[in-house]
C-alpha cells in the first residue's frame, strides 16, 4: 500500500512529462495525481489504528543483505501525520501554481517527483532505502528553485543544494559507523539498541576504535545531527534558508517550508531522539542553546526584513525552533518521575501538532504571497503596500487569519502546538523556555507589523485597482482556512492519532 502511494506521484510526474505538451493538460494531470495522493493519504489516516503501538502498514523485503539493505516501509503516528501533511501541501502548491503561467509541464512534473521523495522519506524505515528518498528529493527541489526563481536563484539553489549535501554526507558517514557497529540499518532495531544502551559498546568493539567510546558516539551523533540541523535550519546552520525561500517562486517555497523543512524535524524524531537518547542528554546544553537561538534570533531578524518573503522565511525558522526545543527538552534525564514523563509527552505532542500546523500555515502564507505577487507584478516589499484591507477585503481577511494562525492565536491551528510545547518544556527546562518566550513575543511584534503596514494605513494609490480574490480562489482557499480552525478548535483530531507513538518515545528516553 505505502509503496503504491509512493510510486503514484512518480508515475504522475512521468505522465505529465509524456502527455502534458499543453500546460492545461499538464496541470490537470498533476492536480489529479496530487488530489489522488491526498485522498489515499487520508485513507491511511482513517485506516491507522491509533491504539496499536509500533509500525503499521508494514512491508519488509530482502534487498541486498550483504550491505544491510532491506526494503522496509511502515508508518506510526508521526509517519501518517507527515503523509497527510505532505500530500496536503503539495496539493495546495499545485493549486497555487494553477494560474501561474510560468509554471509549465516540467514544473508540475518536478513537484510530483518531489512528492514521491517526501512520501518515501516519511515511510522508509531502513537507512539506505530512506536515504535514497532523502537525497533524491533534493534534485527536484534544486531545479524548482534554480529554474523558476527570482534574479538570484542560481546562488540560492546552489547554496541550498550544497549546504544540504554537506549535512547529508555527515549523516551518511555517521550511519555507516552505526552499521559497522551493529550490522543494522533498520531504524526500529537501531532505536532498540540505542534505548537499551547497547550501541556504544557494540560500536567501540566493532570499529577498532582506540579512543574513548563515548567520544566516538558523540562524533557520530553530531554527524547525524548536522544532517537534520541543516535541513530544519537550526541556527547556526540556517544561512541557506532565507535566500532559498525568498528567491524560489512562492509556490515552490510553499513546498520547501510546508513539507521539506519537516524532513529535518522528522529526522530528529525518527532518528536522533530514539537512537541517540543518551547523546542528546549528554549534549543537552548546546542543543538547548541552539534551539533557543533558533526561536529568538530569527524572530528579531524577521522584524528587520523589508521583503515579505524574507520575513516569512525567518518566521519559518522561528516556528521550527519550537519543534527543536520540544524535542530537546524531552531528552532531559528525569529518572522515572511520572510527572515529568507526562510533561515530555505534552512537549512531544506539541511538536507533532506544530509540525502539521506550521506546514499548513506557512504554505498558506506563501500561497497568499503568491496571489499578492501576481496582482502586484512581483512587488512584495512590506512598505510597498498599505491599506489593502480596503482595496481587497476578502484577501486581507483570509491572509489575516493565516497570519494570526502563525502568531498562535487561540482557536486557530498555531495555538495548541505551541501551547503544549511550552507547557511541557517549562517544568523540564525552565530557563530555556523562559528565554524562548521572548521569541513568542517578537513573533507577535513582527506579524502585527506586517498586518499594520500591508493591510492598514492609508491606501497606496498604486494598488487602488487591485482585484480581490476571484470566486474560484476563494473556494480553494476556504477549505484550507477551515482546516486551520478545525485543528485550532479540535486538536484531538491529531493528538488522538499520535498519543501512543509519543508514549513510546517518552518510554524510550527514560533509560
Amino acid at each position: 500500500m505505502i509503496t503504491l502511494l509512493t510510486l503514484l506521484p512518480l508515475v504522475g510526474g512521468l505522465l505529465v512529462l509524456l502527455l502534458g505538451h499543453e500546460r492545461a493538460l499538464a496541470r490537470l494531470i498533476a492536480m489529479l495525481f496530487g488530489v489522488g495522493a491526498l485522498v489515499i493519504a487520508c485513507f491511511f489516516w482513517i485506516g491507522y489504528e491509533p491504539a496499536y503501538p509500533g509500525m503499521q502498514f508494514e512491508v519488509i523485503h530482502q534487498w541486498a543483505p550483504s550491505l544491510g539493505m532491506t526494503y522496509h516501509v511502515g508508518v506510526d503516528g508521526l509517519g501518517v501525520l507527515m503523509l497527510v501533511l505532505s500530500a496536503l501541501v503539495v496539493t495546495m502548491s499545485l493549486a497555487a501554481s494553477w494560474g501561474n503561467e510560468k509554471h509549465g509541464r516540467l514544473y508540475f512534473a518536478l513537484v510530483l517527483f518531489l512528492e514521491c521523495g517526501l512520501f518515501g522519506t516519511f515511510t522508509a524505515l531502513n537507512f539506505v532505502h530512506w536515504f535514497i528518498y532523502w537525497e533524491l528529493s533534493l534534485i527536484p527541489a534544486f531545479f524548482l528553485v534554480r529554474l523558476w526563481g527570482g534574479p538570484q536563484r542560481a546562488r540560492a539553489a546552489t547554496q541550498f543544494f550544497l549546504y544540504t549535501m554537506v549535512g547529508s554526507v555527515a549523516l551518511l558517514l555517521a550511519f555507516l559507523a552505526l552499521f559497522l557497529g551493529t550490522g543494522q540499518f533498520d531504524f526500529v532495531q537501531l532505536a532498540q539498541l540505542g534505548q537499551t544502551n547497547q550501541l556504544t559498546a557494540a560500536l567501540a568493539q566493532n570499529l577498532h576504535w582506540t579512543g574513548n567510546p563515548q567520544t566516538l558516539m558523540l562524533l557520530i551523533f553530531w554527524g547525524a545531527f548536522l544532517g537534520f540541523a541543516v535541513k530544519t535550519a537550526v541556527i547556526p546552520f540556517h544561512t541557506w534558508l532565507p535566500l532559498a525561500y525568498s528567491e524560489a517562486s512562492s509556490e515552490t517555497t510553499m513546498l520547501l517550508t510546508g513539507a521539506m523543512s519537516k524532513m529535518g524535524v522528522y529526522g530528529f524524531l525518527r532518528i536522533l531522539l530514539p537512537i541517540f537518547p543518551q547523546q542528546m542528554q549528554q549534549e543537552l546544553k548546546p542543543l538547548l542553546w541552539m534551539a533557543v537561538a533558533t526561536i529568538v534570533l530569527p524572530a528579531f531578524a524577521a522584524w528587520a526584513q523589508k521583503d515579505l518573503k524574507r520575513t516569512f522565511a525567518y518566521s519559518s525558522i522561528n516556528h521550527l525552533g519550537y519543534c527543536v526545543l520540544g524535542i530537546c527538552v524531552a531528552a532531559r534525564f528525569t529518572g522515572a518521575d511520572p510527572g515529568m514523563a507526562h510533561e515530555k509527552a505534552a512537549a512531544l505532542t506539541g511538536v507533532l501538532l506544530q509540525m502539521f500546523s506550521h506546514g499548513l500555515t506557512a504554505s498558506a502564507l506563501f500561497w497568499f504571497i503568491a496571489l499578492l505577487e501576481r496582482r502586484s507584478g512581483g512587488v512584495r516589499g512590506i512598505d510597498d503596500f498599505g491599506g489593502l484591507r480596503r482595496v481587497v477585503p476578502v484577501f486581507s481577511g483570509l491572509m489575516g487569519i493565516a497570519i494570526f494562525a502563525s502568531l498562535g492565536l487561540p482557536g486557530l491551528n498555531g495555538f495548541p502546538g505551541e501551547f503544549l510545547i511550552f507547557k511541557g518544556a517549562f517544568p523540564l527546562v525552565p530557563w530555556a523556555t523562559a528565554v524562548s518566550v521572548l521569541g513568542l513575543l517578537m513573533t507577535a511584534v513582527f506579524l502585527l507589523t506586517v498586518i499594520q503596514k500591508v493591510f492598514s494605513g492609508p491606501v497606496n494609490p498604486r494598488w487602488a485597482a487591485m482585484p480581490d480574490l476571484t470566486v474560484r480562489e476563494r473556494l480553494v482557499l476556504l477549505p484550507v482556512i477551515g482546516v486551520m480552525f478545525l485543528i485550532g478548535l479540535y486538536p484531538q483530531i491529531i493528538t488522538g492519532m499520535v498519543h501512543v507513538t509519543v508514549a513510546q518515545w517518552v518510554a524510550g528516553v527514560r533509560f
Partner: protein
C-alpha cells in the same frame, strides 16, 4: 567461451581495418563489441558464485615456465562486463568519426582486446604482455584523433595532442618498467618455474622481499590508476583524447591499473602491506602511505576540478578523485572495502564514460568549445535537452546519490575506511562534498548559464540515435547496479574469499 572476447575483438580490429567502407567498419566494430558484451552477460548468467573458471592453459615457453593461462573469477568477470559495456557505448558515441574511420575502429578494438586480455590473464607474464598491447593504440588514438583546446588549430593542435599522447605513453611505460622489474624479481625469487598466479599467490616469498617488491609493483600499476602524485597524465590525456578514447581511458584503462594493484601487487605480495616495524613521519607501513596518497587524490582531484574552466578537464580531474576511492578501498584491506573498490571500478567506468560522452560527443562536437564560460550563454539545456538530462543523471550518479552504482561503491569504501582507517574518514567526506560542488558547478555553468542565447542556439544538430542508445546503455548499467548491487557483489565477494586472496585476509592487520 570468455576467451573469445579477446579473439573476437582482435578479429574485429582486422575486419574493420580491411572493410571497404566507413559504414561497414562501424557496423563491424559495433557487432564485435556487442558480441564481447554478450559473452560477458552469458557467462554472468551461468556463473556459480565463488567459481574460478579456467578458460585456457597451454604451455607457452615451458623452459621459462610461461604459459598461456586464461582464467576468470568474479572480479575478472565484473571488469569484463564493464569492458563490454564501455566498448559498446564508446563505439556508439564515435559513430560520427569520419577521419580514417577504419583505422580508428581498428586501433580501438585492439585496445579492447588488450584490456580483455589483462582481465582474463592468469599468468603474470601474459598479463604484462596484454597490458603493453593496450598502451600502443592509446597513443595513436590520441595523437591522430584527439581534440585540442579552443583556438588551437593546425600544427598547434597537433602538438597539443602529441604532447598529451606522449605524456600518457611515457607515464604508462615508466609504470610498466617498475612492474617488469618487480615481475622479474618475483620470477627469480620463486625459482623461475612458473608465472601462474596459482603458483605465485601461494609461493612463500620472504616478508623482506615482499616489503620492497610490493611498493614497486603497486606504484607501477597505480600510475595508470591515476594515483596522486602520478596522476598528471590523466587529465591531459583524457582531455586530448577523442570522445570514445576518453571513455575507454577513464572507463577501462584506469581500471587496468587498479586491477593490477589488486591482482598482482596485493594478491601476490600481501606481506608487503605489513607494518615496517618503525615509523617515518607517522607512516608505519606501505598501507598507510598509499591510503594517505589515495585520500590526497580524492580531495586534490576534486578541488582542482572545482576551478577548471575547461569542461573536459573537470571530468578528467574528477576521474582522479573517483579513482582515489578505488585505491582507498583497496588499502582498507577489509572485505567490504575491497568489495567497494572493485564495485567502484565498475561504477566509475560506466559513469565516467557517460560524462565524457556528454562533454566530448554531445556538447563539444556540436559547439566546438569546451570552455565553461562560452558554453553558458548557449543555454544548452534548451538547445540539447537530452544532453542536459543525461548529464544531470550522470552527475547525480557521479556524486554518489543513492540509487546509482556510485553510491553502493563509495558507501562500502567508506564503511571499510571507518573500520580500518577511521582517521581518514573525515577527509574522504570532504572529498565527497567538494565532488558534489564541482559536479554541480560544471552542470549549472555548462547547461543553465545566464545571458542572451547566442545566434546559433537553434543551429545545433539534434542528438542522434546512436548517442541516445549509448546513454541509455550506460545509464541502465549504473541504475541496475545501484538498485540491485547484489548482481555484482555476489561475484566479487566470493572471489575475495577465495584461497588466492588468502594472504590478504590472514595479514597482520586483521
Amino acid at each position: 567461451m570468455l576467451a573469445w572476447t579477446i579473439y573476437i575483438s582482435a578479429l574485429g580490429a582486422l575486419a574493420s581495418r580491411l572493410s571497404p567502407s566507413k559504414a561497414l567498419a562501424r557496423v563491424v566494430a559495433l557487432l564485435t563489441a556487442l558480441i564481447g558484451l554478450g559473452i560477458g552477460i552469458a557467462t554472468l548468467l551461468h556463473w556459480t558464485p565463488g567459481e574460478l573458471l579456467t578458460i585456457a592453459n597451454h604451455p607457452w615457453i615451458p623452459q621459462l615456465g610461461l604459459s598461456y593461462h586464461l582464467a576468470a573469477d568474479g572480479i575478472s568477470l565484473t571488469l569484463v562486463l564493464l569492458t563490454g559495456i564501455a566498448a559498446t557505448a564508446g563505439i556508439l558515441f564515435s559513430w560520427n568519426i569520419e577521419k580514417r574511420t577504419q583505422e580508428f575502429f581498428a586501433f580501438y578494438l585492439v585496445l579492447i582486446a588488450g584490456v580483455y586480455g589483462v582481465f582474463l590473464s592468469f599468468d603474470l607474464f601474459l598479463l604484462f604482455v596484454f597490458y603493453e598491447i593496450a598502451i600502443i593504440p592509446k597513443y595513436f588514438l590520441i595523437a591522430i584523433w584527439g581534440s585540442a583546446k579552443r583556438g588551437a588549430t593546425g600544427a598547434d593542435a597537433g602538438s597539443q595532442r602529441e604532447y598529451a599522447a606522449m605524456k600518457l605513453a611515457l607515464y604508462s611505460f615508466a609504470g610498466s618498467a617498475l612492474v617488469l622489474a618487480g615481475m622479474a624479481a618475483a620470477w627469480a625469487a620463486s625459482g623461475g618455474h612458473s608465472m601462474s598466479f596459482e603458483v605465485l599467490a601461494h609461493y612463500p616469498f620472504s616478508a623482506h622481499f615482499q616489503l620492497w617488491v610490493f611498493p614497486m609493483v603497486f606504484v607501477g600499476f597505480a600510475v595508470l590508476a591515476g594515483m596522486w602524485p602520478f596522476h598528471t597524465w590523466a587529465p591531459t590525456g583524457h582531455a586530448a583524447a577523442p570522445t570514445a578514447a576518453s571513455m575507454l581511458l577513464a572507463g577501462v584503462v584506469m581500471k587496468l591499473g587498479a586491477y593490477g594493484c589488486l591482482r598482482v601487487a596485493m594478491m601476490l605480495f600481501p606481506r608487503g602491506l605489513d607494518p615496517w616495524g618503525f615509523h617515518v613521519l607517522g607512516f608505519g607501513s606501505w598501507r598507510d602511505v598509499f591510503a594517505v596518497l589515495a585520500v590526497i587524490g580524492i580531495v586534490y582531484g576534486a578541488t582542482v576540478a572545482l576551478v577548471q574552466r575547461d569542461f573536459k578537464f573537470v571530468i578528467g580531474y574528477s576521474s582522479v578523485s573517483h579513482m582515489g576511492f578505488v585505491l582507498l578501498g583497496l588499502m582498507t584491506l577489509t572485505q567490504i572495502g575491497l568489495d567497494g573498490a572493485v564495485l567502484q571500478m565498475f561504477s566509475h567506468g560506466v559513469i565516467a564514460g557517460l560524462l565524457f560522452a556528454v562533454v566530448g560527443r554531445m556538447v563539444y562536437d556540436r559547439t566546438h568549445t569546451r570552455e565553461l564560460g562560452e558554453l553558458g550563454p548557449m543555454r544548452l539545456a534548451h538547445a540539447i535537452p537530452f544532453a542536459a538530462v543525461t548529464f544531470i543523471l550522470a552527475g547525480m550518479a557521479s556524486i554518489g546519490l543513492p540509487g546509482f552504482s556510485g553510491f553502493v561503491a563509495e558507501f562500502q569504501v567508506l564503511m571499510g575506511t571507518w573500520r580500518a582507517l577511521p582517521g581518514l574518514i573525515a577527509f574522504a567526506g570532504i572529498g565527497i562534498v567538494v565532488g558534489i560542488a564541482f559536479t554541480w558547478r560544471a552542470l549549472t555553468k555548462a547547461f543553465f548559464g545566464e545571458g542572451t542565447p547566442a545566434a546559433h542556439e537553434h543551429a545545433l544538430p539534434p542528438i542522434t540515435i546512436p548517442e541516445k542508445l549509448g546513454s541509455l546503455l550506460l545509464l541502465s548499467a549504473t541504475l541496475i547496479v545501484g538498485l540491485y548491487p547484489s548482481i555484482l557483489t555476489n561475484l566479487i565477494l566470493p572471489a575475495l574469499n577465495s584461497p588466492l586472496f588468502e594472504g590478504l585476509s590472514t595479514g597482520a592487520w586483521r
